[in-house]
């Protein structure tokens, strides 16, 4: 026992001496609250952007990972402010919102920014802000790549035009996901008019087994191309095994799935982080409800996989240019029907209330104006050509 103690003490002294000066003083601290840690692709996307933005802006990043969507989020914000002295607090998950807003009310001098939330534009809490990105633009562009791949399969007689059916693995039957798969489908349809799509929901944002099973059952059901809105590698690996092309999300899966990876879209949060830091540094107000676009660099597409159809690069570039200059509108009502009719009017639940009352007319000039009245998606229309094989609300 004595020997063990002596050994440990010696070790302690050694490490005690190698103290390194880690606290390089920077003038500003920004606190980040993450639902999980880097092991989740969703949070990793935020963490990487935060590191990049803080590095670039010369501020200190302080993080709290594994913070559940509960009072723990409020406590984390308090810690970041009281112990660390952060001037901006950012939280990355939908369910953090109410608790973060409580903290915003308590600390009016600190700025609070929240991704994917819906309440800032009606709450009237001056230092509380929402942000999102029009990821539907990225999904639309990725859908174009998928459509071109389908065209190639039709041209090669691998499938007939009628067999051009895609599969989509979604997390929940929730506006964010509905908006995502619909824009993906519309992108594909813009180049391959006969395309249809089946959707399956897993009821979880991260469940590798369920996502894999859902992708497999879509493939078994005749889907010749798969995409997904869930955070694990489940669907891409199922596709690689079955040799079915895959459009990924939140980053390239080319390394793990070299044969089947086509392209991936993701939200790049760095532009928003740089924006909020700049605003605070310069003493300006942060927008209550900020929407990043493909134009602001908030929506990005990864490199393409090696097996995309010929000519994809040129088409993709022109689509991205069209999205940027506004000549392409993803939810143009001329391009889809609902129960075989054109959508001329739609009331969405933009202002959050307990009863989920539709309150705002969102079809203007023949376009469903997604992310215009609020950054968080509200497109939840079931359009023709897409079949929901199941539904999952939580």
């Amino acid at each position: 026992m004595k020997k063990l103690f002596a050994l440990l003490l010696a070790a302690v002294l050694v490490f005690g001496m190698v103290a390194c000066g880690n606290g390089a003083d920077k003038d500003m601290k920004v606190g980040f609250i993450f639902l999980h840690d880097e092991q989740s692709t969703y949070d990793k996307n935020f963490i990487d952007a935060a590191k990049e933005a803080c590095e670039k802006m010369g501020v200190t990043m302080v993080q709290k990972t594994q913070i559940p969507e509960s009072q723990a989020c409020y406590d984390a914000a308090v810690e970041l402010i009281e112990t660390e002295g952060c001037e901006i607090i950012f939280a990355d998950s939908f369910g953090h919102e109410s608790f973060l807003m409580d903290a915003a009310k308590k600390y009016p001098d600190v700025q609070f920014c929240h991704a994917t939330g819906t309440q800032a534009h009606t709450a009237g809490v001056k230092n509380f802000h929402n942000a999102f990105a029009s990821i539907y633009q990225g999904r639309y562009a990725a859908g174009v790549v998928a459509g071109l791949k389908l065209n190639e399969m039709i041209a090669n007689n691998t499938i007939t035009a009628e067999q051009a059916k895609m599969g989509y693995v979604g997390a929940f039957t929730f506006a964010e996901v509905i908006s995502g798969y619909t824009s993906f489908y519309l992108g594909a349809k813009s180049v391959c008019p006969t395309v249809t799509m089946d959707v399956k929901f897993t009821g979880s944002w991260y469940d590798e087994t369920k996502e894999k099973q859902a992708a497999q059952s879509l493939i078994d059901g005749g889907c010749v191309l798969i995409s997904q809105h869930a955070d694990s590698m489940g669907a891409p690996t199922a596709c690689e095994t079955a040799k079915v092309p895959n459009v990924s999300y939140n980053g390239s899966t080319a390394a793990a799935c070299p044969e089947t990876f086509l392209i991936s879209s993701r939200i790049n949060w760095a532009p928003y982080f740089e924006y909020m830091i700049t605003q605070v540094k310069e003493g300006k107000e942060i927008a209550t409800d900020w929407t990043g676009t493909i134009e602001t660099g908030s929506v990005v597409l990864t490199e393409m996989g090696k097996n995309v159809a010929a000519g994809t690069k040129e088409k993709l570039d022109s689509v991205i240019a069209g999205l940027k200059d506004g000549t392409i509108n993803v939810f143009d009502t001329a391009n889809f029907t609902v129960k075989n009719e054109k959508l001329t009017s739609y009331k969405a639940d933009v202002d959050t209330d307990a009863a989920f009352t539709p309150d705002t007319e969102v079809v203007e000039n023949g376009i469903f104006q997604e992310s215009k009245f609020r950054s968080g998606p509200y497109f939840d229309v079931r359009i023709d050509g897409i079949t929901l094989l199941d539904e999952n609300y939580g």
Partner: protein, 371 residues
């Protein structure tokens, strides 16, 4: 005699049961175990982070207690709150454990209690006066938890079902019911998040949100201590735990004691759920108890079923978990680091019980033959 001993080869080490250990010595061993565990995890932390050993502990301490020396007590309150909830769950399972009834269902009992509170807050929040509402919330929560304890107890008493498996499975049932309720309530937007409800919140005492929670658990701690140590019920529990046959022989109705104790066990666990839902989050999801119901099992054992020692152990585990998470965040390590650090200390604490119950003897000196 001496010749015979010499012929059989004696192993280098052998283990013998010891029953002569004093309370003081046992506690010295336990404290030493905690100290060694902390030292070792500190060394590992220093190796992983490149920071100094002392810096790691400083970060841990600040992560848990914040700038307490500058008079900021907010973080202390968070620590007390987390400790209190964990302790409350441990207090819940303890009467059952003392009876040797392995209640592994604290998670579910707390969750279903929390759900009962949530339903009351949402459905009748505006229908009845506040004091009545609070009373209904308390009764509903306790009843729900008691029911979750009663079901496995009834089956055990009547059909001798395995209580460990049964209570574990009841956790899943509770989780799924909560999942269903969340989906049902949020079907309008499909977000799966119930926004905090303003009605039926437990009162905030002296402007400190967690004070009531801490006070409730403090009172429960004393109550459970007295119940187990000085009441007739407590005595019956101890006898049933020692030997059911003895209990029957002295005229204790074993079935009745099992059922009664599990009802109490479930109800106390439900208090934790109620405090989390009505007193803290004002919302519920399947993660509201967050696995603390399982940590509580360990707390109960570590505390030797003594509520006051359990309180200290809850504090230790909370400190380790919060502190290690802070170190992980400070050095951009992932959550596995926190699990490793708290795992090391807990391993030492659990492992030292071996050295309290047994002694390791080295081979006797060859020269003397009899040492």
């Amino acid at each position: 005699m001496a010749d015979m001993v010499k012929k059989t080869k004696e192993p280098l080490l052998h283990i013998a049961k010891r029953d002569d250990i004093t309370g003081l010595k046992a506690w010295l061993i336990r404290i030493a175990a905690i100290a060694i565990g902390l030292l070792l995890s500190g060394v590992i932390s220093a190796l992983l982070t490149g920071a100094s050993f002392f810096e790691v502990y400083e970060i841990m301490f600040t992560g848990v207690f914040g700038r307490i020396f500058e008079g900021k007590t907010t973080m202390l309150w968070r620590f007390l709150q987390q400790t209190a909830i964990l302790l409350c769950l441990a207090l819940g399972v303890t009467p059952a454990f003392k009876m040797r009834f392995w209640n592994c269902g604290a998670e579910g009992q707390a969750l279903i209690g929390g759900l009962a509170a949530m339903v009351c807050m949402m459905k009748i929040g505006n229908a009845v006066p506040y004091p009545v509402l609070l009373l209904i919330i308390v009764v509903a929560s306790l009843a729900a938890g008691a029911l979750w304890g009663l079901i496995p107890a009834l089956f055990h008493a009547q059909y001798r079902t395995n209580e460990t498996l049964f209570t574990l499975m009841m956790n899943y049932v509770a989780t799924q019911i909560v999942a269903y309720y969340v989906v049902y309530t949020t079907a309008g937007d499909g977000s799966g998040i119930i926004k905090p409800v303003a009605t039926g919140n437990l009162p905030v005492l002296l402007g400190e949100k967690y004070l009531l929670n801490v006070l409730v658990v403090l009172m429960l701690t004393v109550a459970v201590f007295i119940y187990l140590k000085y009441s007739k019920h407590g005595y019956e529990i101890a006898v049933v735990g020692e030997s059911q046959n003895t209990a029957r022989y002295v005229g204790i109705n074993v079935k009745k004691v099992i059922i009664r104790t599990m009802v109490i066990s479930g109800a106390v666990c439900a208090v934790a759920g109620m405090l989390m839902v009505a007193g803290t989050d004002h919302s519920i999801n399947t993660n509201t108890i967050g696995g603390q119901g399982f940590t509580a099992i360990m707390i109960s054992w570590l505390g030797q079923f003594n509520p006051f020692i359990m309180a200290a152990m809850s504090g230790l585990v909370t400190f380790l978990e919060t502190g290690a998470a802070k170190v992980a965040d400070s050095f951009f390590l992932n959550s596995s680091y926190a699990d490793i650090v708290s795992g090391i200390v807990i391993l030492f604490v659990v492992g030292c019980e071996f050295f309290i119950r047994y002694t390791v003897k080295f081979r006797h000196n060859k020269k003397g033959g009899n040492a």
